[in-house]
């Protein structure tokens, strides 16, 4: 029997110490009619060997050639050291660092992580992660609504519009979460250039409590974030910036958007050392200006001193959290995505600003090469980052399916997300894609389109 160390002698001695005849007796407070065995035919336990064989076979079933899909999850190189370190038992099997003195490793990692994210985003504070990008955006919206005192005082409606090209799956997650607090999340239209059309908002009075913009947006297009930030600042609307942290190695930090910058920055950390792994676990991050620190959800680590006056780290501002503040907490989040934060911290240490910049630039360049090689028109005119919408001139879903049968992920068909883009695919080529792979995609696409 796996994992249980008790010998018969142990069990007997323990039962004696308790003073019962058998283990069954320990369940005597459970009413008989609630006792039940697992139903169906009993499953024999598999040995580790058998279990791994099953997993290996199933994983092999799904093995694919090169991946040209991004859409919030990117196939970047991860240095071997990242997961060799993050998988050390002391990181991987540690509990939440509530006992600070026995958790200095985890705590210092988070403190370093917070610093790195503040550097990337230009914000003053960062939490120790939320679940992922979509749920993180929901937390950011809730936070913005809580934090906009002016709006609350003035009784503005709880409306938080989103730029039209915010990741549609982030929008869905945000809506299902924030609707329970009566927050309305309307979508703004996107223009022919692929960027948000703010004129749709111009008439609004009172203005929205907060506004969400994504940079680069779902289409890979770069928004005019200066104009958006200024629009929001002028109206007392809090600006929530949803960003790809890797892009910030090249792009202006949200703190520097327009004249005053964004108020809250969120996003998904997957590009920072997290394998695609079907999209999870990854981690969401949430940063803010100093003024909003007490509205942040989730854990935050602070540096302090020990009884000898030496520096050390501990969870702080816990009065925001559910285990202290209960129904009045800033969020219900408890378990977060700590191990991924550890990996990301190590990843960023190994890459540094220069390395991240080169990864971002190489991904941009590869995507340019890809678009060129595919020879199909871009759907949107504005500059893009490392993703791009391509018009195939016919329904895209069957084409993508055909490419998949050919063994490659040839972009994301957009029809299921935007009916008007049913002929389009969103493609991405990270720094890992070789010219040979790009050529393979181009050839396969030509084949698929000629059928």
């Amino acid at each position: 029997m796996p994992f249980i160390p008790h010998t018969d002698a142990d069990t007997a001695a323990m039962l004696r110490a308790i003073g019962v005849a058998d283990i069954e007796a320990l369940f005597d407070e459970i009413p008989d009619r609630l006792r039940s065995a697992p139903s169906g035919t009993p499953r024999a336990g598999l040995s580790e060997m058998e279990m791994r064989r099953r997993f290996a076979e199933r994983a092999a079933q799904d093995a694919m050639g090169p991946c040209f899909v991004g859409a919030g999850c990117y196939d970047h190189h991860i240095p071997a050291a990242v997961w060799d370190l993050a998988s050390r038992g002391e990181f991987m099997t540690a509990y939440t660092p509530y006992q600070a003195e026995a958790s200095q490793g985890t705590l210092q990692v988070i403190y370093e992580f917070q610093t790195m994210l503040c550097e990337l985003t230009g914000m003053d504070a960062c939490n120790a992660s939320v679940y992922e990008g979509g749920a993180g955006l929901a937390e950011a919206v809730l936070m913005a609504v809580r934090a906009n005192r002016k709006a609350a005082r003035a009784g503005w409606p709880r409306t938080v519009p989103m730029a039209g090209a915010v990741h549609p799956l982030y929008v869905r997650a945000t809506r299902s979460i924030v609707c329970n607090q009566g927050i309305d999340v309307p979508m703004l239209p996107y223009g022919e250039d692929g960027r948000v059309d703010l004129t749709a908002l111009d008439g609004l009075a009172p203005p929205p409590v907060a506004l969400v913009v994504q940079q680069p947006n779902f289409f890979g297009v770069l928004e005019d974030v200066d104009a958006i930030a200024d629009w929001a600042a002028e109206r007392g609307t809090l600006l929530v910036a949803c960003v790809n942290p890797l892009s910030l190695a090249l792009l202006k930090p949200p703190s520097a958007w327009g004249s005053v910058g964004a108020n809250i920055v969120c996003g998904d950390g997957q590009p920072l050392g997290v394998p695609m792994a079907s999209g999870g676990p990854s981690f969401g991050f949430l940063c803010s200006r100093q003024a909003l620190v007490r509205q942040l959800p989730g854990r935050i680590v602070g540096r302090t001193e020990d009884a000898r006056g030496e520096a050390g780290f501990t969870l702080t501002l816990q009065a925001r959290e559910q285990h202290i503040r209960r129904a009045k907490a800033t969020s219900n989040i408890c378990t977060n995505q700590g191990l991924l934060v550890t990996a990301a911290t190590i990843h960023m240490s190994l890459l540094g600003a220069a390395g991240l910049r080169e990864v971002a630039a190489a991904s941009c360049a590869k995507t340019r090469e890809l678009v060129q090689a595919l020879g199909r028109p871009r759907r949107f005119s504005a500059p893009c980052f490392h993703e791009c919408v391509i018009d195939l001139g016919r329904p895209a879903t069957p084409v993508v399916e055909a490419l998949a049968r050919d063994g490659l992920l040839g972009g994301l068909a957009l029809g299921p997300y935007f009916a008007e883009l049913a002929h389009c695919v969103l493609v991405c080529a990270t720094e890992r894609r070789t010219s040979a792979e790009i050529e393979r995609f181009a050839t396969a696409l030509r084949g698929a389109l000629s059928n």
Partner: protein
């Protein structure tokens, strides 16, 4: 050294050269959107980073290196085989939006896990997407709300929780736009049924509870509770954090619960990762099934497909959940088999009752001495605190010096100076005996030399940390001196 950060090791121009792709221009990005100055990330060599994080890891306690009798957290052995199985290259490289047609291996795994969990829950429907217990709770309360709305009963916005409920329960209710009402717990750790009867009514959306409860005892009248809530028109949410105690022995579905979550990072042994990730699959009875969050895997004659339940509360995250954790949980469940699952509940309970008996003999006060411990139990140090000025927190810190992680302190809130102790089934008798010996030793110290206990820990990388200073003089990020 303790607090030398990675930034302190940084030098301009240093780096890990092997991690740099060939430089590429990105000249076509509009200049006004580019950043002026690079972020001040560390500039260190690969060896410096490796050594720094290796040594930082060594400043942690972990299951792989210490015993963690941490009540409510179920810190049991995290099988390395499950970790490796989930790390198969084919799984790690799978893009979340890969078509289902080329994802049948992955979908088959998720489907297997859904089936397994349904059986353990005693419920006919399961969604794997919630990313932790709290998100499972959120899903559950949102489903309860949506159900009432669908019945045209939009006034039901009150969630009841027993006193001593875990903080995520009230926080979840609030996040779902509900109000929270506490129900008292009686002497022996059971819910006060009279108080419950008085609390339910036309506004009752539902009740959230654990069973075994956060008091470490099995709620004996759980079906009466279910009847009271159901009769008042409410629904019952089962917080599965304590499921380890009854795995293979009893099913929440049989107790009258309508919806529940699992903490796979507890009951199904996936690692806690220093705070996460976890997974909180949510199960439902037939009437709540249409409201489950998506996506869910459905098996057709030919293959596996993603589906969204008809009246789904929606997505809770962009993709499908913490896939890697789900795979680990499946690996664990497959290794257990039916018989192994049953033994989990049995030996978790045996270990807890043994430890309770031994500590009682050693002179510690059990919070509910007349009850069976479930998988965990509570001792209260209130008398000791009064007599020797040594608190539960002092005890907890001193235990660290003995190489044992502290039990959960001051939870549940209604037991003064308490330690909530959960040994789990994967610890051997010798480990439990060593814990008792440490506790006895600290008890003796508390009497003879309370200062040593009060100023503990002494053998950790740092002495006791000043939390007040941390909160007052916020230092949340490194800055150059």
């Amino acid at each position: 050294m303790g607090a030398q950060t990675i930034f302190d090791l940084s030098q301009p121009g240093r780096g890990a050269g092997a991690q740099r792709p060939s430089p590429a221009a990105a000249d076509d990005l509009p200049p006004e959107l580019r950043r002026d100055a690079p972020p001040r990330l560390p500039q260190v060599s690969e060896l410096q980073a490796l050594r720094h994080y290796t040594n930082l890891s060594r400043a942690n306690f972990s299951i792989d290196s210490q015993f963690y009798p941490l009540g409510s957290c179920t810190m049991k052995y995290n099988p390395r085989g499950a970790h490796r199985a989930a790390s198969e290259p084919g799984f790690l490289a799978r893009h979340p939006l890969a078509p289902a047609s080329v994802s049948q291996g992955f979908l088959a795994c998720l489907h297997d896990l859904q089936e397994l969990l349904k059986d353990a829950a005693g419920m006919p429907a399961m969604s794997l997407t919630p990313m932790a217990g709290a998100q499972g709770e959120f899903a559950g309360v949102a489903m309860i709300r949506a159900w009432h709305d669908a019945q045209g009963d939009a006034s039901r916005r009150e969630i009841l929780v027993p006193a001593g409920a875990h903080g995520t329960n009230p926080a979840t209710a609030a996040m779902c736009g509900c109000t929270v009402r506490e129900v008292a717990v009686r002497d022996h750790g059971d819910v006060d049924l009279d108080a419950l009867k008085a609390a339910v009514g036309a506004n009752t959306a539902g009740l959230m509870m654990t069973n075994p409860s956060t008091c470490g005892v099995f709620e004996r009248r759980v079906t009466d509770i279910a009847d009271i809530v159901h009769d008042a028109g409410g629904l019952l949410y089962y917080d599965g954090a304590n499921l380890n105690a009854i795995l293979g022995k009893a099913k929440p579905g049989d107790m009258g619960f309508d919806v529940l979550h699992f903490n796979l990072h507890k009951t199904f042994a996936t690692p806690h990762g220093g705070g996460g990730p976890g997974a909180g699959p949510v199960g439902a009875t037939a009437r709540l099934a249409p409201f489950l969050p998506g996506p869910i895997v459905e098996r057709t004659d030919d293959d596996y497909q993603w589906v969204e339940p008809a009246q789904s509360i929606g997505r809770l995250s962009a993709f499908m959940g913490n896939a890697g954790i789900l795979l680990r949980a499946l690996a664990y469940a497959l290794m257990l088999g039916t018989e192994g699952e049953r033994r989990v509940g049995e030996f978790a309970t045996l270990n807890a009752n043994y430890l309770a008996a031994r500590l009682k003999d050693a002179g510690f006060d059990l919070a509910w001495p007349k009850r069976r411990a479930s998988h965990e139990f509570i001792i209260t140090l209130a008398a000791l605190a009064r007599r020797h000025g040594v608190t539960a927190m002092d005890f907890a810190k001193r235990l660290l010096d003995f190489g044992v992680h502290a039990p959960t302190t001051y939870f549940p809130l209604m037991v003064p100076e308490c330690l909530l102790i959960e040994p789990t089934e994967t610890e051997c008798k010798e480990e439990l005996d060593a814990f008792v010996a440490a506790m006895e030793c600290i008890l003796a110290e508390a009497k003879s030399d309370p200062e040593t206990v009060r100023t503990a820990p002494h053998a950790m990388p740092v002495k006791r940390l000043d939390d007040v200073k941390a909160a007052r003089e916020l230092d949340l990020r490194w800055r150059p001196q």
